[in-house]
Symmetry: C2
Subunit: 228 residues, 2 copies
């Protein structure tokens, strides 16, 4: 009894990428509807009052189930399709995975994305002028701090939240892969992180992300290279 799923997403949105990776790891098929969310299309706002992607619609027997944004989507997938589990098998692993998921949702998003992605991506999409160099510099500095922290974690662990791949890895990879599209991750300075990203990049769930291209925004040369 396979469920028909449609994901409304934007290819270079970290939150959308998290959901694509989670669906991929759970081997759940879905139709992808690319959504220019910054234009506030009517069908998106009707589905999600915040006007944001991702939105996953499942066609269930009783009618469509509309799941808005990452928390509702990934927690629902974890409950409805528990294998393989993406949140760890014991309380400590689950707590650690959730801590890191929230780290990216709030801290990384605020300190890095609101500067670096805003300047490099959103301003391009919304045609609001040239990137502000001071913001780019500040965003790259903040990014370095986050990379140092992740590098340290991966010195002690195989995966970010412990011994097994978890939602924390998918979340970190979703975010870093967008920044890597723009060539802004200094992989050479972070050996553990680079190995971790190579492992993730080689997984089947990652392939669709590496094929993403957006008109007018060419990715960095190494973006889809598995041995970068």
């Amino acid at each position: 009894m396979s469920v028909k799923r449609t994901l409304h997403h934007f290819p270079l949105d970290p939150a959308s990428r998290l959901v694509r990776l989670a669906l991929g790891e759970k081997r759940l098929a879905f139709e992808a509807a690319v959504c220019r969310y910054w234009e506030q299309p009517e069908d998106l706002v009707r589905l999600n009052p915040s006007g944001l992607v991702p939105v996953l619609v499942e066609e269930l027997e009783g009618g469509p189930l509309v799941l808005c944004e990452t928390r509702a989507i990934v927690d629902h997938l974890e409950e409805a399709e528990p294998e393989p589990p993406l949140l760890g098998r014991d309380v400590a692993e689950r707590a650690e995975a959730r801590r890191l998921v929230q780290w990216f949702d709030r801290k990384f998003d605020f300190e890095v994305n609101s500067l670096l992605l805003y300047e490099k991506l959103e301003k391009r999409l919304t045609k609001s002028g040239a990137p502000d160099l001071a913001n780019l510099r500040e965003g790259r500095e903040a990014l370095k701090g986050h990379l140092c922290y992740l590098e340290g974690l991966l010195g002690e662990r195989d995966w970010l939240a412990g011994r097994r791949l978890s939602l924390a890895d998918l979340q970190a990879a979703a975010h870093l892969s967008v920044i890597d599209y723009f060539g802004d991750v200094p992989w050479g300075d972070f050996a553990n992180l680079r190995v971790w990203y190579m492992k993730l990049k080689s997984r089947p769930c990652f392939r669709p992300l590496l094929a993403d291209r957006w008109p007018g925004l060419a990715p960095a040369g190494h973006y889809d290279d598995l041995d970068f």
Copy 2:
């Protein structure tokens, strides 16, 4: 077999308040340790690398379980102490509660707290000068938009996510109660929301929040009044 719990929190932090309300609704006792997080105290940073509150520590048989920030804490409580459930009983209610929880974590926090609470609270705590009037105005405008949206939801439903009280109500009340401490919620313009807040304010879980006072920051006159 009751678990010994310690919550590291700051009384006027919306995220900390969400956890206090969730613990209260589930009738779980805990020791409260007030934390001046903006001073980055060493014991907090040791518990939570992001340096943020809330952090809940549970003394389990195998050793302490450290739960950092709201997602790890409330999802763990929901799994470990399922009654009463705070996430709804069917998939649609759960999806709606999670959507609204994330709405406040990201949208409300970004559009309202980063202006209004930053100017009124954080600048005071960190002694970084007088509030910027343009930011206050912009924050209050954004707040109005959110209140209109919630008012509309409560025109169709008893509680924010449906027929039963859920984590969405606790999250909204956690945020609005801090703004109400500063007297910035125009309740008179939002009849449904006011009734909803009166119901919440009367619950036992809310009493400790209404008793909160921070030195040098007096609450609005109606702050702890059940018939405001």
